[in-house]
C-alpha cells in the first residue's frame, strides 16, 4: 500500500504532462463521474420519494426539497406484520448460514493444503467439477424433499453454504502462509486440529472477514431458494415479502388495512419505503465491505 502511494505521487510530480494526458484525464473524469451518478441517483430518488407526499411527487418528480415531508409510508410499513416475519427469517438464515459457511470453509480448505494428506488432488478435482456441472433444479429439489427440508429455513441455508470459488481462494490463502509456525507447533506435539484452531485460524481472519461479508450479503439478497423450497408464507425471507409488496398487489393490501385508520398513503410511497426498510442493513455493512473487497480478491486460475 505504501509503495503504491509513493508511486502515484511520483507520477504526478516528476513526469511532465502533454496535451494528450489532459485529454485522457478529462475524458476519464467525465465518463466515470457520469456513470457513477447514473448508478447512484436511483437510490437517492427512492429515499427522497419515500418521504415525499404523493401529491407533491405527482406535481414534480425532481423537486429535491419538497415543501412537506411525510412519515406515513414508514408507519404503515412498520405496522405490516410480514415485514417483521421476513426480517426474522432473513436474520436467522443469514447469521446461521454465514457462520456455518465460514466454519465449513476453513475446515474443508485446510486439509487440502497439507501435502501429506492422501487424496487431496482428487477432492480438489471433485470440487472443481462442480463449477461446471450440476444436477440441476429438479434433482436438487428432490434432494431437499427427501431430506425433509422443504418449508424449513435449512433449505435456504444449506444449498449455498460452500462453493468451489471460495474454497479455492481460501486454500490458496492458507497455502501462502509461512510453514514455519505450523512446523514449530507440530514439533511441540500439537495435533492438526490444534494447529488449525490456534495458529491457522487467527492468521485467516482477513480473508474470513472478506468472504464472510460476501456470504452474508449473498444470503441476505437471495430469493431463489426461497421460491424453490418454501410454500408457507411464515417461512418467507424478507426479499420475498419485499417482492410481493413491490411487484404485486400487497401494497394495495397494506393500504386497505391502513384505510381503517383513515391514513391513506399511495402504494408508490409504500413501495419506496419498503425498499428503504429492507435495504438499511446492507447499507450498514457496505462501508466494511468496501474496506475489505480490494484486499486479496484477485482472480487467478484454478490451477495450483
Amino acid at each position: 500500500m505504501e509503495t503504491v502511494k509513493k508511486v502515484s505521487v511520483k507520477q504526478t510530480t516528476h513526469i511532465k504532462r502533454g496535451p494528450d494526458d489532459y485529454a485522457v484525464a478529462g475524458v476519464s473524469y467525465l465518463i466515470t463521474g457520469v456513470f457513477a451518478l447514473i448508478c447512484f441517483i436511483p437510490f437517492f430518488l427512492v429515499v427522497l420519494y419515500s418521504f415525499t407526499p404523493y401529491d407533491l411527487y405527482l406535481k414534480n418528480h425532481f423537486d429535491f426539497f419538497p415543501e412537506r415531508l411525510t412519515l406515513d409510508a414508514y408507519r404503515m410499513v412498520i405496522d405490516y406484520g410480514y415485514i417483521w416475519t421476513g426480517y426474522r427469517n432473513t436474520l436467522i438464515i443469514t447469521a446461521t448460514g454465514t457462520i456455518l459457511s465460514m466454519l465449513l470453509l476453513v475446515v474443508t480448505a485446510y486439509p487440502l493444503t497439507r501435502r501429506e494428506m492422501k487424496g487431496r488432488k482428487l477432492i480438489t478435482a471433485l470440487w472443481v467439477f462442480t463449477m461446471f456441472f450440476s444436477g440441476g433444479m429438479i434433482p436438487e429439489y428432490f434432494l431437499m424433499r427427501s431430506l425433509g427440508l422443504l418449508n424449513t429455513r435449512w433449505a435456504m441455508i444449506l444449498p449455498g453454504m460452500l462453493g468451489c470459488y471460495n474454497l479455492i481462494l481460501m486454500r490458496n490463502y492458507i497455502d501462502g502462509l509461512p510453514d514455519s509456525l505450523e512446523e514449530a507447533a507440530t514439533i511441540d506435539g500439537a495435533n492438526d486440529l490444534v494447529v488449525l484452531v490456534k495458529i491457522i485460524l487467527p492468521l485467516c481472519m482477513p480473508i474470513l472477514a472478506t468472504l464472510g461479508l460476501f456470504t452474508l450479503v449473498g444470503y441476505w439478497n437471495s430469493y431463489f431458494s426461497a421460491i424453490m423450497y418454501t410454500t408457507k408464507r411464515t417461512m418467507w425471507p424478507l426479499q420475498l415479502v419485499l417482492r410481493e409488496i413491490v411487484f404485486e398487489g400487497s401494497a394495495a393490501e397494506m393500504e386497505a388495512a391502513g384505510a381503517a385508520d383513515e391514513n391513506l398513503t399511495s402504494p408508490f410511497l409504500l413501495r419506496m419505503a419498503s425498499i428503504v426498510v429492507a435495504t438499511v442493513p446492507i447499507m450498514c455493512v457496505y462501508p466494511f465491505l468496501q474496506k475489505y473487497f480490494m484486499s486479496g480478491l484477485v482472480l487467478g486460475g484454478v490451477k495450483e
Binding site: I38, F132, M137, V217, Q290
Partner: protein, 312 residues
Amino acid sequence: MAQNMAVINKPKTSLAKHLYKNRWLYLMCIPGLAFLIIFKYIPMYGVIMAFQDFSFKKGIFGSSFNNFAHFKQLFNSGKFWNVFTNSIVLSMLKLLINFPIPILLALLLNELRVKWFKKVTQTFLYLPHFMSWIVLGGIVNNFLSMNDGVINDLIVMLGGQKINFLGSNEWFRFVIIATNIWKEAGWGTIIYLAALSSISPDLYEAATVDGANRWQKIRHITLPGIASTVVITLVLQIGGLMNNGFEQIYLFQNDLNIQVSEVFEIYTYKIGIVSGRYSYSTAVGLFKNVIGTILIFSTNRITKKLGGATLF
C-alpha cells in the same frame, strides 16, 4: 532384532500408521466431503431421471428407462427452441455489451488522480452490486411505470412518447441488459483494477523517457498487462453462455414479453416445479448443463492453443 522386525512390518502397517498419525486431518475432511457428496453429487446422480418415465411411487431405482423419449420430444418442440434462442440471444448481448464495459471503465478509473473523486466514484459504482435483484428490480419497475414512473415522465417532458418498457417484447432485452450494466459493470472493474495495479510503474516511466505517447503506452504496456485477466474472464463468460440466472429475469417476465423472456432457468422451473413434469424438466436442465460444460472446456482449450492464459 527388534529394529529389523519394525522395518519388515512397516509396509504392512504404514497406511494405518499414516491414517492414525494424520487422523485429525482426515477427520476434518468429513464435513466438507459429506457436503460435497450430499449437495453436489447426489443431485448429479439424479439426472438419471431425464432418461426415465419417473414416478414418485417407484423412485429413481424403480422407474423405467424410456429410450431418450424426453430428448426426442424436446428437440421436436418449438417451445424448447424458443427458450434456447432467447437464452443465447440474451447472453450473446451480454457478451458483446456487458463484457467490455468493465474493462473500459477500469482503464478510465485507473487514470483518475484526485483521490476523493476516485473514492466517491468507486463507492457509487460498486453499490448496486450489493443490492438484491428484488430491490433493483423494484426500483426499475416503479421508475419505468407507465402511470407515474420518473423515466416515462422525463421522456414526455423532453417531448417524447411514453414507452411501455416492461410490457413489450421489443424493450425487454434492453431492460435486462441495462439493469445488468447498472448492477455489475462497476463491480466488474475490480479484477481489472487489481491487474492494472500490478503493472510496474517503471515500465511507464521508461516508456516516457523513450518518448512514447499516451496511446503507445496504453497499447504496449497497459493492455498486455491486463490481457490474461481479460482472457480468463472471457473463458468464464463463454462457459456461461447458457446461463442467464433466475433472479433477474423472473422479476421482469410477464405475459406481454414472454415471447422473448422465457429462458432456460425459468422454463425448467415452470415445467418442473410448477407443472410437475419432473423428468422432462430434468432433461432440459441436463441439455443446458452439457452444452455449458462443452463450451467452457473448448474455450479453455482454444486459449491454451493460442498460448494465452488458461483457467485450468
